[in-house]
Symmetry: D2
Subunit: 323 residues, 4 copies
């Protein structure tokens, strides 16, 4: 059994990790570190985890676990590693955006954990920087084109995210009275995930020099990312379908279709669903994921599975919510 520790285990993403890991047949949860909630049982914070009263938050870290998931706020992972040592054999999956870029200051080497892009490196990795949620959706939409140098125009991206994307902190825009039935844009053309996306695209298509125009949108729902991406292209729909299906042929969670898709097809799963259309000289790529799973905790477990040589889908065959 893989002994798992979670740091920052009271937040949304950690909650999702725990929900998945309690049913993971190869895992035992060793500790759930949370300074603020130490001593409480897990169901006092993650309210659905009734029936797991023996699972408690602690302020003690076991430095000898097999793998640690770091769910600290962005910017806190580096100082955490400066203050906490783990055993040589402990693998790390960091879910912050601190170690994703080549030029980030890091305490050790981290492999960028986008499975569909880096699978062979992940299998060999000791430490994983888990991708951002928007970054995951958008890269999965663009990887096959980049790999074939087919990104030949500016790219236009609009991605709507659920409220859990902003974490559990209280703010005016997380208030139910404000957000219910509302829509708004934030960080227009300047979301921090653009850097991750560009670094991957450039590594595949060296000549990539076009604009990535990305509008992040707050939607009136809790879970999921709905991303629409388009660019000019000469490729036919048949070529595109073939290209994407080939690229994702071994991907267990990423699916390609020509049919209309909607967000709830993937909510509460680790799936990514991509619809391709070719209209008026443009490729339209619609991508849906669950921001907390494929965009965070699910992908993190997928990375763990790969690092430990167990079947990629273990613990991740989740029943969709669908409604």
């Amino acid at each position: 059994m893989i002994k798992v520790g979670i740091i920052g285990s009271a937040g949304y993403v950690a909650g999702e990790l725990i929900r998945c890991l309690v049913n993971h047949p190869e895992v035992t949860i060793d500790f759930l570190y949370s300074n603020s909630q130490a001593g409480k049982s897990v169901d006092q914070v993650h309210f659905d985890l009734i029936g797991y009263k023996n699972l408690k938050f602690t302020s003690d870290i076991n430095s000898d676990v097999d793998v640690v998931f770091l769910c600290l706020g962005h910017g806190n992972s580096l100082s955490f590693f400066e203050q906490n040592l783990f055993s040589e054999n402990t693998k790390i999956v960091d879910l912050s955006n601190d170690f994703r870029l080549k030029n980030d200051r890091k305490p050790k080497e981290f492999v960028y954990g986008l499975v569909e892009f880096n699978k062979s490196k992940i299998i060999e990795a000791k430490n994983i920087a888990n991708p951002g949620c928007f970054a995951t959706a958008i890269q999965l939409g663009l990887l096959p084109l980049a790999k074939k140098n087919l990104l030949s125009s500016d790219i236009h991206i609009n991605a709507v995210t659920g409220s859990t994307g902003a974490g559990q902190s209280l703010s005016d825009s997380s208030h139910f009275s404000w957000r219910n039935n509302n829509v708004s844009i934030y960080k227009a053309f300047n979301h921090q995930h653009q850097d991750e996306i560009l670094e991957t695209l450039n590594s595949l298509q060296g000549n990539f020099k076009y604009d990535l125009n990305f509008l992040p949108v707050r939607g009136s729902f809790t879970r999921g990312i709905f991303a629409s991406i388009y660019l000019k292209s000469n490729a036919t729909i048949t070529e595109l379908m073939s290209l994407y299906k080939t690229f994702y042929i071994d991907s267990l969670f990423t699916h390609i279709t020509e049919n209309s898709i909607s967000l709830k097809q993937v909510v509460n799963t680790n799936n990514c669903l991509i619809q391709l259309q070719k209209i008026d000289g443009k490729i339209l790529i619609t991508v849906v994921i669950d921001n907390l799973l494929k965009g965070a905790a699910g992908q993190a477990i997928q990375n763990m599975n790969l690092m430990f040589g167990i079947a990629e889908e273990t613990g991740l065959q989740l029943k969709a919510n669908q409604f």
Copy 2:
């Protein structure tokens, strides 16, 4: 023109007052007092009030206005009056729950402003204690029975409220990620509005000695109260319809029906809609109001209109949202 001042004018209820009063043909807004927002224009806080840039929050109070609406947090009105004097001629509408009960400690005499119950007193009043939102819905459902001494069994009440009922403060249960698609109960059998209700019922039906079993429920919507009320009764539906229609014959905003009703019929209006059913020896009374309007700001303006001798519906003929 009636010169109006609002105290605590940055909150939800004050926002509704301002939204109504800017279109009220007999009113001019004299000042909007808010310590926290002083200097800002009204649309920086109540975001829909674009086009009213000249309307600004102030930390100055004009003690000589014709009427003041007090929108302070519950428990703060008394100390406010100890620190602030108004002219002899200034009328007061207090929207807190501080002065609603006979035994509340008050700086002056307040008339309980439930229009359908106290209209003649309100017309003569100088100071109004505006009823609570739940209290308004439930009393409107029970007044005709109480007046005829027909409350002859325990009363069972379940009332679902929108998130605006809890004000704009941030809390775990006001977080969109929590409240969206959720339901929960709070203050079971112990909501503070029960006292208001009982005081009115007792004043009408002296022998009222039954239990009022009231469950307040948090609903997954922003505006409105949906209350179901039932009790045992020998009255026929014909008698009940006649009783209620007679009682409310002069009420401009309270309507009686035998048809099925739903919450959104009254959202964003000052209306109260009451459906009557007689089933298996029980009267079922379903009541819907908008908690911020008929349950707060709308009723406050209705009270003002009555006190100033202008038509009761002035400024309150609001277009329903309906969808």
Copy 3:
């Protein structure tokens, strides 16, 4: 492996069965019968089931499967059995309300499949009448009291249900524009599930003669039932907690708490969560379940597991949606 067939497999409940059964380690899906959708792959109807293209709807029935789940509209099961024969060894789980009552006309003997009430009979059963969703929530709230003859006053029940409770047929009250942010009551004091509940209560507490006052409410969400139940009682909270905890000591999915609960703690799980309170001489029992799982498909699989002698929770350890 248990060979499973589903009749009426294009509806909501059948969709949930399929979602659970594709991950059930002891089950193989033999056929998915749907006249209207025959020939389509499962993901053309249950859109989240991408990746199961080999699973197709058929108009052929294999009469030799190990178990059949019947998901026909209420009132259609009897005529189905008149027209379709299954092998002697085929077990049946009927999810309609056709065979739940003792006096229902039935083609064979059916055991009422409320696990917490009938477990030993279910283990021996050949045919199961799966309980209704409201009936499940309300009975789970009342069983421990009935067993000890502690139902000694009228019972008051308000239960809010998600839109999936009404199935996938289109109607004015299932229209998004109508139901979003809305609340309404239907079948007040006359819901068909009352008979199921009363039959069970009477079988436990022979002298039960009180009124069951049940108000079903349409909520502004898709999944789940939130039921509040109260009655007068002399029992202390300590006695009640002890009574319920003892009664449910072997129940894997039903949990008792004194803490506040909310609907989303159980959505997308097979759990039932019950909060007990004692206030002013009344017991308040709040019960939450997912109407499509514990209230339908989940409980049906739980029944199947018991009939086939496999661990009760197999295939039902579902990750909650929570947000």
Copy 4:
């Protein structure tokens, strides 16, 4: 008083017209034509209009009213006029998309009723083709640029609409269980409103030859359109703010801001709110309107007011829902 008739008066848009017109001080409703609902009172169809029992649907048309609003399904207006004659003096406001384009086959001359674009022609008009909802939002976002020939690159538009935009007919995508918390795209790059938009843009900026890339999105709310529009530009934010503020200086309902905006600022009003940003060589224009008001019924009444020489805002000073 202006005598008004409405054709097709049982639909969503007609409901909004009636809600506004019952409070319009210069209007009397002469007839509400609806074949399907003839004989019913208005509140049996538009449920919030309690208190208007005297207002009934009829199957008779008074051909002598001052103005007729046509709310028929798209494609039905022409045949309606072939079968129904109105007096010479009767003005027409058609809310379908049948007569909006120069080359549409029309029974008489129609002026395109986009107030901010065609005000002087509307004042003189006898017949108005009321703009589409998406078309209104997008044109209001682009008019000032087009007028100055500043549309000098492809234009990228994403616009999310509420469910009322699809009318009250039942469909899979209007089912609450499907649409709640969901997002989806329809008619990508091919929405019928593009023609209206292009015709206006071309009339202002003769050389307009760029692509209009428009993605319509179904949102998880009932009312409103949230449109983001961007294009490349050399103009500074100062120049843009000045340009837009000047262009809309006399517009009572269209407001310009540099602040972040959100959809609910305009829901249940006739307002249009436009936020301007200049980021990385691109203008980002965010536009919000209520699809049923500024995008349909509200603008129709605004057109009526102008044609009859009364103040443009009469009957349209609506209280926002805001929450």
